[in-house]
C-alpha cells in the first residue's frame, strides 16, 4: 500500500521547493517526484528507524542522555551553541532560549556562509524581493559568485531563468542571464554572458561598475581581468532593464573582502534603482539558515555571532562566531545542532570539538557525531518532523512530513534541556 503526499516541502536548500510529490510505501520513502538530486537524496536516504542516543559511544535512554547534556552545559563556563540551519524554527526558538538561559554563545551556519552578507546589509542596506517577483518580472538576471546549477539545482527552472511569468511569458527568451565567476561553472553554461573575474578582484569590478553606471569614464582597459568595455556593456544592460535581479553567493562572501565585496554589490544594486528597478537575493544555502537568522534576530536583535554571557545579548562577528571561538579555545563545551562543523570548519577550529565535551542533535551520523560526547538522533525536519522553514527570500513555509513521527524532535530535546538549566 502506498500513499502519495503532494505539495511536500523540501528542506535541503534555500529554495525550499514546495511542489514535491513523495510516495511512501511501508513507512519508507519509495519515490520522490519533482525534486532535484539533493532533495531526492535527502528524502530517500533518511532512515527514520528510532535510534537510541549515545553517551561516550554507549547507547542510553533519552532521559539519561538529556541529563548528561544538561550537566555538561550547566557545568560549562563558556558553552557554544552552533548550527541551527537544518532545524525547524520551532526548534531554533528553543535553541535561542537555551542560549539565553545558559548565558551561552550562539552562532549559526551563517557565519561561514552569508554572515558577511548580513554585515553588508547592516552597513548599506539591501534592496530585495520575493522569488515570485523574479519569475514574474525579471528580465535581467546576474549570478555573481554563486553556482545554482550545483548548489540550488531547481533555482533556474523554478524561480529564475526558464519559468514563464506574468511579464515573462516566453520564459528563457524574455530574459538575459549573466554569470560572473572565477571559472566557467555549470551555471555559466546557462548564461548569455559569462564574465570571468580574477580571484579576489570582485570588489574592483563592482566599484568600476558603480562608476560606469554613474556615467564616469574609467581609464584602464581591464579590471579584474575583465575588459572595461564589457563592463560598460553590462552597466548599460543593468540600467535599461525592466526589473533586474542579482543573486550572490560564496564567491563574494568567502573571498578576501568578504562583507566589503557584498556591500559593494548591494550599493550598486541600490544605485541602479535611480534608473530602473533592481534587487538582490542572497542564495541562502541550508534549508532553514534564513529561519535561523530570523529567529535569532527577533529574540536577540542580532542574526549570528551572539553571546548571552553577560545576561543580555551582545553581537560579535569575529568575537562570538564559532570558528573564532573554537580556534581560540574559548569554548569549554559545544552543542552542535543540525550541522556538521567537523566536515565544514577549518581544521584548527574543527579539532577543538574533539577536545571539549560536544553534544550533537542530528538525524544522521556525521563527522561531528563521531567525535561527540552525547549524540541525539532526532527526527529529520521536513521528512518526519513538522515545523517551519524560511525560504531564501524570507517566505516561511510549513513542512508536510511524509513519514510518521517516531523519533523525538529537536524541539522536544531542546525543551527538555532548557527545563534542566540551573539558575545562575
Amino acid at each position: 500500500m502506498s500513499t502519495i503526499v503532494e505539495n511536500v516541502v523540501c528542506p535541503f536548500c534555500g529554495c525550499l521547493c514546495d511542489d514535491l510529490a513523495v510516495e511512501v510505501e511501508e513507512g519508507r520513502v519509495a519515490r520522490v517526484r519533482r525534486a532535484c538530486a539533493n532533495g531526492r537524496g535527502l528524502f530517500a536516504h533518511y532512515d527514520p528507524t528510532p535510534q537510541r542516543p549515545t553517551v561516550d559511544g554507549r547507547e542510553v535512554d533519552w532521559e539519561e542522555a538529556i541529563a548528561e547534556a544538561a550537566r555538561i552545559l550547566n557545568e560549562a563556563d563558556s558553552p557554544l551553541i552552533y548550527g541551527l540551519s537544518s532545524m525547524a524554527t520551532e526548534a531554533q526558538r528553543k535553541a535561542v532560549e537555551l542560549a539565553d538561559r545558559l548565558g551561552a554563545m550562539i552562532d549559526t551556519t551563517s557565519s561561514v556562509c552569508h554572515g558577511p552578507t548580513g554585515l553588508a546589509m547592516q552597513a548599506v542596506g539591501e534592496p530585495t524581493c520575493t522569488l515570485g517577483e523574479v519569475r514574474n518580472r525579471a528580465d535581467l538576471l546576474i549570478f555573481w559568485g554563486c553556482n545554482p546549477a550545483v548548489s540550488h539545482v531547481r533555482h533556474f527552472t523554478r524561480y529564475s531563468v526558464t519559468p514563464k511569468g506574468m511579464l515573462t511569458p516566453k520564459g528563457r527568451r524574455d530574459r538575459t542571464v549573466v554569470v560572473v565567476d572565477v571559472r566557467p561553472t555549470a551555471s555559466a553554461r546557462a548564461a548569455d554572458l559569462f564574465l570571468q573575474v580574477q580571484p579576489g578582484a570582485d570588489f574592483e569590478v563592482l566599484t568600476v561598475l558603480r562608476a560606469l553606471v554613474q556615467g564616469k569614464t574609467v581609464e584602464v582597459e581591464t579590471v579584474g581581468g575583465i575588459p572595461t568595455a564589457r563592463l560598460q556593456e553590462l552597466a548599460e544592460r543593468m540600467k535599461t532593464c525592466r526589473f533586474g535581479v542579482a543573486f550572490m553567493g560564496m564567491g563574494l562572501t568567502q573571498t578576501g573582502g568578504r562583507d566589503l565585496n557584498v556591500s559593494e554589490l548591494f550599493t550598486l544594486v541600490a544605485e541602479l534603482n535611480q534608473y530602473t528597478r533592481f534587487s538582490v537575493i542572497p542564495m541562502r544555502g541550508h534549508g532553514n539558515v534564513a529561519g535561523a537568522d530570523q529567529v535569532l534576530t527577533w529574540q536577540s536583535g542580532y542574526p549570528f555571532g551572539v553571546s548571552f554571557a553577560r545576561g543580555y545579548p551582545r553581537y560579535g562577528p569575529g568575537e562570538f562566531t564559532a570558528v573564532d571561538v573554537l580556534a581560540r579555545g574559548e569554548a569549554d563545551a559545544a552543542l552542535i545542532l543540525a550541522s556538521d562543523p567537523m566536515a565544514h570548519f577549518p581544521g584548527a577550529a574543527a579539532r577543538q570539538l574533539e577536545c571539549i565535551p560536544t553534544i550533537v542533535l542530528d538525524p544522521m551520523p556525521s563527522l561531528t557525531t563521531r567525535v561527540a560526547r552525547v549524540v541525539f538522533p532526532t527526527a529529520c525536519y521536513g521528512v518526519d518532523a513538522a515545523g517551519t522553514a524560511y525560504r531564501m527570500d524570507g517566505v516561511p513555509i510549513r513542512f508536510r512530513p511524509v513519514l510518521p513521527l517516531v523519533r523525538p524532535t529537536d524541539e522536544h530535546v531542546l525543551s527538555e534541556i532548557v527545563a534542566r538549566v540551573l539558575p545562575g
Partner: protein, 543 residues
C-alpha cells in the same frame, strides 16, 4: 480572584470619570461583586490611585518580516539598549526596534495590554504569527495589507465586487488577520515599475484601476463582511508637502463609509512641493470633524531616533534618497512591498519641527476624542514607549510651549499650535489610549471595565508629572493576573492572538488556485496559516 478597591476609575465606555469604584475580577473577567468570594480574593488597595482599562494600541509595527528586517539591519539600535534576563523573563535588546520579548515587557510596563501589528503581507503572515507568539503577555492582532493585491485589483477591473469580497474573506482567514489594511493603494504596485501614484484617479500600471476604486471597494467589502474594525488606511502621498489636500479628498472619496486613517500627521502637510513644509492640520482636522464615519490615529513625532518601516515601497526609497541613510526594500509578489530606513527627528531641524507641530495640532483641532487616537506609528515617528511624553504634552499646554521654544525658530511661523490652549483631561486620555481605540477596533471586551470585559486593568499613581505617571504604572493586570506589581514586572505568560474568520463562498477557491499558478511561486495549499501557529488564537466574530 481579585478586588481592586477604592480607586478613581476612568472608564469612558461606561461613563466613569474618576468616580471611586471597586473593580472585581474572576476567571480573567470583570465580574459583579457578588460573584467574588472576598475571603479568598487578593485585594489591591487602590486608594488615591487612578484606575483605567489596560491600554489598547491601534497601530504599531512590532512583529513580522519588515520589523525583523529592521532589527537585523540596525545592530546600532540595540547595543546600548539591552534587558538582562531574569528567572522568569528573557533578555532582549533594541530601542526603536526592540526584540519580541522586550516589546511585550516594555508595553506592559507602560500599562498597555493589547497591541495591533499594523501591517502584514499575507504571503509572510506565518512569520508575523511566529513572532507574535514570542511577544509575551499582550493580546495582539495583525492587519493584512491588501491595497496592492493583484486578485483584488483584477476583480475591480472586471467589475466583480462579490468575488473580491469572497477573496478578502478567504485572505483574512488564511492570514489569520484582524483587519483590512491598505497602504498607498496602487502606488506600491507602481513602484515595481519604478513609479508611484499621486492622485486618487491615477492608474495602476498593468491593472487599469485607481487608488479611489481600491479604497471604495475595500470599504464596501469591509461593511459586507461585518468586520469588527474598519479599513485601516495609509493613504497616498505620505510625507509630501501639500498632501493635506489629498487626505481631505481621500476622506471624501469614502462617501460616508467607515474607515480609519493611520498616522494622520504624515498626511497633513500644507505648502507646496519645493516650498517650505507647513502644517496643514487645520484643513485635515476640519475634514475629520465633518466626517463622523472616520477615525484616525496621529503618529506623533518624537524627537530622537526612529526607524521608518512601511509597506510603502516608493516612500521608503524617497526617504533613502532624501536622507542618504541605508535602505531596505522588499517587493512581495502579487501583494505589496515595503522598506526600512533609519531616521532621526531633531528639534532644530525645520522639517522635524513642523512635523511635530502638525501632529500636536491634529490632536488639539480634532474635536471628538473618540475619533483621534494616540500613536507614534511605532517606530516610524518614534518609539511606543514615548507615549507618556505625548500624554503630558496633551494635558499640559505649558509643556507644549516649552517644546515650541526649543524648536527651529522658523517652525512657529504660520503655526496654529501656539494659540491652541486646549488641555486633555484624564478622561480624554483614557479615550484616546484605550476606550476609543478598543471601540474603533470593535473589541467589545477591551478598553473598558464593565462587567464581562477582559480583566485588563492598569493602575497609576496620581502624579503631577503626567509623563512619569503614565510611564510607570503601579500595577498592571492582564487577564485577571497581576503582571506588574509596584512598578515591576512580576509574571510572564502568553497573550492571545485575535483574528477574524469571515465566511466566504467556497466556490472562490478554484479562482484562487488559478491565481496562485499565475502569481506566486508557493503552492496555494501551502499558503494559509495553519492552526499550529495560533496556540493562543481567538476568533473575534464578525457582525
Amino acid at each position: 480572584m481579585l478586588g481592586i478597591l477604592n480607586g478613581r476609575v476612568y472608564d469612558p465606555l461606561n461613563g466613569l470619570n474618576g468616580e471611586v469604584r471597586d473593580i472585581w475580577v474572576k476567571d480573567g473577567r470583570i465580574v459583579p461583586p457578588e460573584e467574588v468570594d472576598r475571603e479568598r480574593a487578593e485585594i489591591l488597595d487602590a486608594t488615591g490611585l487612578v484606575v483605567m482599562p489596560g491600554g489598547v494600541d491601534i497601530h504599531s509595527h512590532i512583529a513580522g518580516a519588515k520589523v525583523n528586517a529592521g532589527r537585523k539591519f540596525r545592530p546600532e539600535d540595540h547595543r546600548d539598549h539591552t534587558r538582562t534576563r531574569t528567572a522568569f523573563t528573557r533578555s532582549g535588546s533594541g530601542y526603536t526596534v526592540p526584540t519580541t520579548h522586550l516589546t511585550g515587557y516594555l508595553y506592559v510596563e507602560m500599562g498597555y495590554t493589547t497591541v495591533m501589528e499594523a501591517a502584514t503581507a499575507p504571503l509572510v503572515a506565518r512569520h508575523t504569527h511566529e513572532e507574535l507568539e514570542d511577544i509575551p503577555i499582550l493580546d495582539k492582532g495583525a492587519f493584512i495589507t491588501m491595497g496592492n493585491n493583484h486578485f483584488i485589483m483584477r476583480c475591480i477591473r472586471e467589475g466583480d465586487r462579490d468575488k473580491a469580497r469572497d477573496y478578502v474573506a478567504w485572505l483574512l482567514s488564511a492570514a489569520r488577520g484582524y483587519a483590512i489594511k491598505i497602504v498607498n493603494p496602487g502606488g506600491v504596485e507602481n513602484w515595481k515599475w519604478g513609479r508611484n501614484v499621486s492622485r486618487l484617479d491615477d492608474e495602476v500600471i498593468g491593472f487599469g484601476v485607481t487608488p479611489r476604486q481600491i479604497l471604495t471597494t475595500l470599504a464596501w467589502i469591509n461593511d459586507e463582511l461585518g468586520l469588527p474594525h474598519v479599513p485601516h488606511i495609509h493613504g497616498i502621498n505620505l510625507g509630501q508637502p501639500g498632501n493635506a489636500r489629498t487626505m481631505v479628498e481621500t476622506i471624501e472619496a469614502l462617501e460616508g463609509r467607515r474607515a480609519h486613517f493611520c498616522h494622520l500627521q504624515f498626511f497633513s502637510y500644507g505648502g507646496e512641493p519645493g516650498k517650505r513644509l507647513r502644517s496643514g492640520a487645520a484643513e485635515v482636522a476640519r475634514a475629520v470633524n465633518e466626517h463622523p464615519n472616520v477615525t484616525v490615529d496621529v503618529g506623533q513625532i518624537i524627537f530622537g531616533e526612529a526607524t521608518t518601516m512601511t509597506s510603502d515601497g516608493p516612500l521608503q526609497y524617497r526617504l533613502h534618497r532624501l536622507t542618504g541613510n541605508k535602505w531596505l526594500n522588499d517587493d512581495v509578489e502579487g501583494e505589496t512591498g515595503g522598506g526600512v530606513v533609519p531616521m532621526h527627528y531633531r528639534r532644530k531641524n525645520l522639517i522635524s519641527a513642523v512635523q511635530w507641530i502638525t501632529g500636536m495640532e491634529l490632536f488639539l483641532l480634532i474635536a471628538d476624542p473618540w475619533r483621534v487616537f494616540l500613536t507614534t506609528d511605532h517606530p516610524n515617528a518614534g518609539p511606543f514607549f514615548a507615549y507618556p511624553q505625548v500624554i503630558k504634552l496633551l494635558i499640559d499646554r505649558d509643556a507644549r510651549a516649552e517644546v515650541l521654544e526649543g524648536l527651529h525658530p522658523k517652525a512657529r511661523e504660520g503655526a496654529l499650535l501656539p494659540e491652541l490652549d486646549r488641555e486633555y483631561s484624564l478622561y480624554e486620555i483614557a479615550i484616546i489610549t484605550r476606550a476609543g481605540t478598543a471601540r474603533a477596533l470593535g473589541l467589545k471586551n477591551k478598553g473598558h471595565l464593565g462587567v464581562g470585559a477582559d480583566a485588563d486593568v492598569t493602575i497609576y499613581a496620581d502624579l503631577e508629572d503626567k509623563e512619569a505617571m503614565f510611564a510607570h504604572p503601579r500595577y498592571v493586570i492582564k487577564g485577571g493576573e497581576i503582571v506588574v506589581h509596584d512598578g515591576r514586572l512580576v509574571r510572564e505568560r502568553p497573550g492571545r492572538t485575535l483574528y477574524v474568520a469571515p465566511p466566504y463562498d467556497p466556490g472562490i477557491e478554484a479562482a484562487i488556485r488559478d491565481h496562485f499558478e499565475r502569481t506566486y511561486v508557493i503552492a496555494s495549499d501551502n499558503y494559509p496559516v495553519q492552526d499550529e501557529y495560533l496556540p493562543h488564537g481567538e476568533v473575534v466574530p464578525c457582525a
